[in-house]
Amino acid sequence: MSKHPTPIRLAALLVVLLAPIARAEIPPTLVGLSYQFSIPIGNTYNYTPPVSWRGVGLDVATFIRRDLAVGLAFGWNVFFENTTSTLNFRGTDVTGNQDRALNVWPTLVNARWFPKISSNRDIQPYISANVGGYIIERYLAIGTTASQETHFHFGLAPEIGVFIQNPVGAVFINARYNMAFASGGVPFQQFLSFSLGYAWER
């Protein structure tokens, strides 16, 4: 006669059998690489109005709960404009052929919440809050003169996205509203970035 009652044995069996499935559905750590394009807003738009088609992202996330992951988000977004319009630069109005560029490196920590929308998690939306810093390099070249300054900006970034799982990984898309607060004489910067990436388990 067994020392354990049947219900306990059944529960133990279920844990053993279901644990790998749970791990397959929600891996403990994800690494994602993405291509990003960004729409400048506010002061960022005033300095470099065109949409940025140059951007990459690296995300690392680990699940601390079935529906909650914490992680890091790194990126590189490049905004550029060639213009002859007038620019106010530290109190001086300047007109001439200008190359303006913003190199933005977000360095954020985040928490992602994955609401359960169905028993099948193949398509899994999420909401995320990012906080951290943005290293922003602002470059301006006029004629034969150029200036470049780099500052660290405190920043926040709400984000929504979705993971679409497949047998070998997951495609993800997201939209992140990036807000970098004023620093070093460079005003508040904002841009909306869209990512298309691929994630896999580590």
Partner: protein, 208 residues
Amino acid sequence: MSRVGKHFVPPLVWLGLLLAACHPTGAETITDLDTVATTHDATFDFAAPTTYSRPNQIPLISGDPTTSPPEFLDAQLTAVVFSTLDNEMTALGYTKVDIGATPDLVITAGALKVTNVTYYYGYWCGYWAYYYPCYPYYPPVAGVSAYTQGTLILDMAPFAATPPANQILGVWTAVIRGIQSGSRSTDQARIVNGISQAFIQSPYLGKP
């Protein structure tokens, strides 16, 4: 999920580097280098003055402020500079008067014959002392400190026979790069365009 995804890393990284490496080209024609910079004293009421005066010559700043007499910009280009300047000032409601008529504003002009004169304002007193009492001059904002050869500099200051604290505080400065390309017709067009642009981007000038 499997580790198959790691095979995507190299192409994605290279794609990122490729995208980030794209960089704009530089200037293609000499006019691409033309630049107009203006700065002003935001506390000064430009609507109050009604008259201005200016010298009738433009000294060439050669790097030695003690050169006496200084070289001057040739008469034809000088005429273009001053006619354009006078047209713009008149359009804003200011009246040109002789320096002896006690104007409200004084405008001086200088042209750089050398590059990287970072102490341009040291010339202000010496070059125009024949015309205006010699006092140390201070620009409204030290936003521009280095200029290149072929740059025209216009300075505006309130007239005062005996300025307070024995110094003249400028209220408007225009730096117009690109007036010495070697082609007289091109230079004249660039002068007119440059001076006009300096006034266009200074909407605070003039009388309402």
